[in-house]
């Protein structure tokens, strides 16, 4: 098994998680493009990084933020989102929480809080890996994570507004 195959295999295993991470800034198709581009960049490196997953998350984050900043890209994204909306999570009967509610609560969080939740919960990264990706200290990452969970809990615990209200 060549080094390229190994790296591609690792990234493929994290494809949906990486795309979910990029979805904070981009629509689903742009998020997939960004992950694909990051994979290309990873494969063109002269030597593989020590932590390919952390490297990928970092590359995806940088590229997604750059793309989101582009005005034309933003317009395109809005049109795309208006045309076809794709969920962040796939519906499953085993889910203990409503996927749409979770998505809504997550999308309402500030980006620096939402990204730590995604990296911790779905990407299953350690706080040290997250600190390397986000280039902040581990304690900052931890503080953000706790703050994010607190906000999420209060958002999800709010009773749904009924038509009667």
């Amino acid at each position: 098994m060549s080094e390229l195959d190994r790296l591609a295999g690792i990234v493929l295993a994290h494809a949906s998680k990486l795309t979910l991470f990029a979805r904070q800034w981009l629509d689903s198709s742009s998020a997939e493009d960004v992950v694909q581009e990051a994979l290309v960049s990873l494969l063109t490196l002269r030597s593989a990084p020590d932590d390919p997953i952390a490297w990928m998350y970092r590359a995806v984050r940088n590229e997604a933020i750059d793309l989101a900043r582009t005005a034309s890209r933003r317009r395109k994204r809005e049109q795309s989102v208006a045309g076809q909306r794709q969920e962040w999570f796939s519906a499953s009967p085993e889910s203990l929480i409503d996927a749409r509610s979770a998505e809504k609560a997550l999308s309402q969080l500030p980006t620096e809080l939402a990204e730590v939740v995604i990296l911790r919960i779905w990407s299953e990264l350690s706080f040290s890996q997250m600190a390397r990706i986000l280039q902040v200290s581990q304690s900052t990452v931890h503080d953000r994570y706790v703050a994010a969970l607190t906000r999420l809990r209060s958002a999800l615990e709010q009773p749904c507004k009924s038509k009667m209200d």
Partner: protein
């Protein structure tokens, strides 16, 4: 209740609930990615070779210009010969002991060609035809 990681039981429960959600599937094309990566690496190599060739060409052109500039300081062969002959002509100065034209004319009038002074011509060597053949 505070847990070891700074989270209480409610937050742990929320973690579990969130973990039960699975991210929507994403389409990645590893073959296309590998192809693109190969293309990029090849382009990088080609660019490196092109830069090296360009650098060599610039160096060669510079050295040619420098060599031409150095050879321009000494004149070309034809010019050198012409200036030498010109200098030879300019360096001719009449011998003060030589009779002037006026004296020679007077001598011719009085004594004819016998009155002309003898010249300091070098001795003539007898040329043998055998030597030439």
């Amino acid at each position: 209740m505070q847990e070891q990681d700074g989270l209480n039981s409610a937050e742990h429960e929320l973690e579990r609930a969130l973990r039960s959600l699975s991210p929507a599937s994403a389409r990645l094309d590893p073959i296309a990615a590998a192809f693109d990566a190969g293309q990029k690496v090849r382009q990088r190599q080609v660019r490196a070779w092109a830069s090296a060739c360009l650098l060599l060409m610039v160096l060669q052109a510079t050295s040619l210009i420098w060599m031409r500039g150095a050879s321009d300081t000494s004149p070309p062969r034809g010019i050198e010969q012409a200036s030498t002959s010109l200098e030879t002509q300019r360096s001719f100065t009449p011998n003060p002991s030589m009779p002037t034209l006026r004296i020679l004319e007077d001598a011719m009038e009085k004594h004819g060609s016998d009155g002309l002074p003898t010249t300091d011509l070098p001795d003539t060597r007898q040329i043998d035809l055998k030597d030439q053949i």
